[in-house]
Amino acid sequence: MLDELVYLYAVGNAAVGAAVPTGLRGVAGAPVRVIPVDRLAAIVSSVDPHEFGDESLQRNLNDLTWLAVTARAHHAVIDLVWGSQPIAPLRLATVYRTDENVRTLLQANSDAFTSALDRIRGRQEWGVKAFAAAVPGQGSGDEEPDGAVGPGAAYLLRKRAARDRVLRERSKADDAAEGLHRSLSGIAEASRRYPPQDPRISGRRADMVLNAAYLVPDSDLAVFRKAVERGQPADLEVELTGPWVPYSFATLEEP
């Protein structure tokens, strides 16, 4: 077994070296370093085969505590470097045997990496989540059954009216979310939708009706933000996260 393996975070252009501060540590607390390859550069750490080798990696990826810590460390390195240099982030746990293999990878895919960098340079990823706004229980005044029905029937009618109101509000929130997504997609260069998160994960009581990522050119950022603010009608609470490294839009293939 080799003494060390090479964990690959991201690929940038040659200037990326200056954006990696000395003393920066990444996954498993390993120092972060740069492998320059012609016009490109790989951001890597040397890692322990006992943690990142074939069997260990497989096992660790299914250990959700390890996964959470490693995901945060992976993200922290990428996020920090992205602050000053465009980089194309790799998916979590991309591991090579040697620096030489990383060099070969970059040389063989040099054009694809360069165009991936071009596609995300000067752009930011923004996450938008929309929640069905909690509408305080309006009295069912207009639906109050008249005195012609008995108390049992009146109770059932009230229940039905309440259920219908919840459905109507949810459907209004869904429509508002679709409208918001359409308007943001019109400004963004690209968009991706994620499945809605459970209320206990999102930390909000309300139903999530939109969970999406948008690739926004720096020049359109103000317009995008305005659209997010405008897209908050009474039916919707909107949460904006970012700027993210364009994880959702970094690919080696033409989209």
């Binding site: 460390a73 390195v77 090579y96």
Partner: protein, 131 residues
């Protein structure tokens, strides 16, 4: 401060009324599912990665289902909300209490109960079934 000991860059400027957060679910959605995908030298069984992604999706989509699968790490993640941490501690206390109660009941029923150790209630649960 992240797990890697790095302060997150504070370049997120939000209008007051828009909340912003970097929660774990948001990060996992991106680093597991997105980013450039190349097969490294260390091959991770793709089927397993897919299963993992499904687990995360379940987690993100439904906490209850994830709990059934024994995935509950977010309860122990200090970066998640205080409320959830309190819940985790309360769960732990309750589990210990139930374990202790079960153990003492077990001890009452088994008069000779030589192998019953009420001091380790957590371990008792698996043994109870054999009794």
């Amino acid at each position: 401060v992240t797990a890697g000991g790095l302060p997150l860059p504070s370049r997120n400027r939000q209008p007051e009324h828009l909340q912003q957060s970097t929660n774990l679910a948001d990060i996992l959605e991106r680093v597991l599912d997105k980013g450039i995908v190349i097969a490294g030298d260390i091959r991770v069984n793709l089927l397993d990665i897919e299963l993992l992604t499904i687990k995360i999706r379940l987690l993100v989509a439904s906490v209850d289902k994830a709990r059934e699968m024994g995935i509950d790490w977010w309860e122990h993640d200090p970066s998640l909300s205080t409320g959830q941490r309190d819940l985790a501690e309360e769960n732990k206390r309750l589990r210990e209490r139930i374990g202790a109660l079960e153990a003492s009941r077990h001890a009452d029923r088994d008069d000779d109960g030589a192998d019953v150790s009420p001091k380790a209630p957590g371990r008792e649960r698996s043994r109870q079934r054999d009794a």
